[in-house]
């Protein structure tokens, strides 16, 4: 075991896969010589050289298009889109090209690639560099969508994404880059489509993703200590494939459901999960499912304003406590 940061876990995960398979190549803006805008890819250029770790122009369409062409013809590219907000300028590849080529070609075309991108708020960057856009990708048939919450999951899920034969959009949370945790030594390979119960409990299920996971855990600890409510926290980890078994199992046990979502409210990932639970576990519920989200507004830059709109442990505690009537 060693304590490493979420940021360093990214580089370790990429290095683990590049060392294993020379078909794994990596491209993006500032990712090579500069080691990445968030310093999450430091050392890869030195370790794997300029043919495998390549700086690109500021051309998001070229980055994703090139990744796709390389993937179709035998490589396993990892492409970085620096800020997930920039997905909007290359959305054609994410919405139209990666996920539809296999289907349209009746199974001829493959597209085994990973798009890594810095997602989420907390850096006071304002409305175009702070969004949580995992739901933009969740809605598209043919993609897989992953968002890890801790360093071990970064390595394991990144490895699983690289080894997966489908296009995977891998959302790293910018505010998690500095956080540190103990990570096992050696190769780490996880499984896509698996949620994790990170804090067992019996009174309420709290589903969270990425930065919202540590906040949900903190809230659960306080709910227990201050209100005697024993909440179960589930790290959803993978939106597609979605581990509905774990989610429905937890709701079956606790009979209450809360989602903690950083995305703005409309069509956030929690809406889909609430709909699944309403369809399939309605009679397990002792009360209405509750979504705790960022309000449906663009994100402000000023620190106190940004802090007000993201779900916080305080808001989670208060919402769960009120809903459970204690």
């Amino acid at each position: 075991m060693a304590e490493i940061s979420y940021r360093d876990a990214v580089a370790r995960g990429i290095a683990q896969e590049m060392a294993r398979d020379k078909d794994v190549v990596f491209l993006g803006e500032d990712v090579a010589k500069a080691g990445g805008c968030f310093k999450a890819t430091v050392g890869l250029f030195e370790q794997f050289g300029p043919l495998r770790v390549r700086d690109t122009p500021i051309s998001e369409q070229a980055i994703l298009g090139a990744a796709m062409g390389a993937a179709m013809t035998g490589l396993k590219p990892i492409a970085e889109i620096m800020f997930s907000d920039f997905i909007a300028v290359c959305f054609d590849y994410i919405a139209n090209e990666f996920p539809k080529s296999r289907y349209m070609s009746n199974g001829q075309t493959k597209c085994p690639l990973v798009v890594r991108t810095g997602n989420g708020a907390g850096s006071r960057f304002g409305a175009q560099h702070s969004q949580s856009v995992e739901n933009w990708c969740m809605m598209i048939p043919g993609l897989k969508v992953v968002a890890p919450s801790n360093p071990t999951d970064v390595i394991g899920l990144l490895a699983a994404a690289v080894r997966d034969p489908d296009p995977v959009i891998f959302f790293e949370h910018k505010s998690l880059y500095p956080i540190k945790a103990e990570v096992p030594d050696g190769e780490i390979v996880d499984t896509l489509g698996t949620a994790k119960i990170v804090r067992p409990g019996k009174d309420a299920t709290i589903l969270a993703l990425a930065l919202m996971v540590p906040r949900a855990i903190e809230a659960a600890e306080r709910l227990k200590a201050e209100h005697g409510i024993d909440a179960e926290v589930v790290d959803v980890r993978s939106l597609v494939p979605l581990d509905t078994k774990t989610i429905l199992g937890s709701v079956g046990k606790t009979h209450r459901l809360f989602t903690v979502e950083e995305n703005p409210r409309l069509c956030g990932w929690g809406a889909e999960i609430v709909s699944i639970v309403a369809d399939e576990a309605f009679y397990d519920l002792d009360g209405p499912p509750v979504r705790i989200t960022t309000p449906h507004i663009p994100l402000p830059a000023a620190d106190h304003l940004e802090d007000m709109v993201l779900p916080t442990p305080d808001r989670i505690v208060e919402t769960v406590r009120r809903s459970l009537g204690s």
Partner: protein
């Protein structure tokens, strides 16, 4: 058929056994007439309401598809647009597979799951037809990057229309390919219209591709896209440059589509006489004259025409008789496991 070395030089001055030679010229002719007949048949079947959805014909643009495809080697990759029937056929995909897809039958190239705008046959090197303007230029760069990375000698060839030169992905791809020195050849088919609007009305330069080349450190290449010999020779040069590791080429081929943009378009926006003038420069007409000039007999030409017609007729009948796709393919091949499951 006359053997390659049996005949003296033709009356045109250039030798029958010049750099192209008789065998390749007959192949170029066969390819062009095959594209012409297949596209004309697609149009006829549309009028009979047997081609469904949309379709974008390459009638009049056959020399570009034939010239570039005939200059390719096995393993070279084609990236096409929604106007991709001709480029797909030119790589050797059967007329039946293409017409079957246009007719959305089970014998179609993708069993009706893609439709006319997405013809794909990886076994023939046809790496897809892309219906979002410009999307495939970066994708072709990626395939070329793989070749460069692995030391493979194949070339990625990317076909697109004049309208594509005004979208961002064109410029991103050109710069990317030039900076990375990728073995990719960009082929602009300038048929004078971006959909319904004259390209000159919406483009800042006279040659939509050619005049942009300098911005990416590439030479301006604008050629007669209705003369298959000219196209073939330019293709050979560009492929050789790519294989030698000397980077991309951008080639603008001047041509003209005889039909409208898509099946719904009668092309009434064209000035009177324009179509007739271009039909004087019909690539099939030009090439028949070329063959005769080199001493190829009317009979040899007629035999090729008849063979092609038989293939197209047989394909038509096979497609008419083919079943529609079964409904169980609806849920296949969304993901690599063959299925569509997004949850457990």
């Amino acid at each position: 058929m006359v053997a390659k070395d049996d005949r003296a030089n033709g009356s045109g001055g250039a030798g029958l056994n010049d750099d192209i030679g008789e065998a390749k010229r007959l192949a170029l002719y066969r390819s062009q007439i095959r594209l012409r007949e297949a596209e004309q048949r697609a149009f006829d079947l549309f009028l009979q309401n047997l081609v469904k959805g949309t379709s974008h014909l390459s009638l009049g643009q056959e020399a570009v598809a034939a010239g570039f495809a005939e200059a390719m080697q096995k393993g070279d990759l084609s990236f096409c647009t929604y106007r991709g029937h001709a480029h797909t056929l030119a790589r050797g995909v059967s007329v039946e597979k293409v017409l079957g897809e246009l007719m959305q039958k089970d014998n179609g190239l993708m069993r009706g799951k893609g439709g006319s705008m997405h013809l794909t046959s990886e076994e023939h090197g046809v790496m897809g037809s892309y219906a979002i303007i410009g999307a495939h230029l970066p994708i072709a760069c990626g395939a070329a990057w793989r070749a460069q990375y692995r030391g493979d000698k194949d070339v990625s060839v990317c076909f697109f229309g004049d309208g594509t030169t005004n979208i961002g992905a064109f410029h991103e791809a050109l710069n990317f390919a030039a900076v990375w020195k990728l073995p990719v050849v960009f082929v602009c088919e300038n048929n004078l219209y971006m959909e319904y609007t004259p390209i000159g009305d919406v483009t800042a330069v006279a040659s939509p591709a050619g005049d942009r080349a300098a911005a990416y450190g590439l030479p301006k290449i604008v050629i007669d896209g209705n003369d298959a010999d000219v196209v073939y020779r330019e293709a050979q040069k560009a492929y050789a440059k790519a294989r030698a590791g000397e980077g991309p080429s951008l080639i603008e081929c001047l041509t003209y589509r005889h039909s409208g943009h898509s099946r719904a378009d009668p092309a009434k926006y064209r000035p009177e006489g324009e179509l007739e003038r271009w039909k004087e420069r019909d690539p099939i007409k030009i090439y028949r004259e070329r063959l005769k000039q080199f001493g190829v007999s009317e009979q040899v030409i007629a035999d090729i025409d008849a063979e092609v017609r038989r293939e197209v007729d047989a394909a038509t009948e096979a497609c008419k008789a083919a079943p529609i796709p079964p409904t169980d393919i609806l849920f296949t091949d969304v993901y690599a496991d063959g299925g569509w499951a997004w949850r457990n």
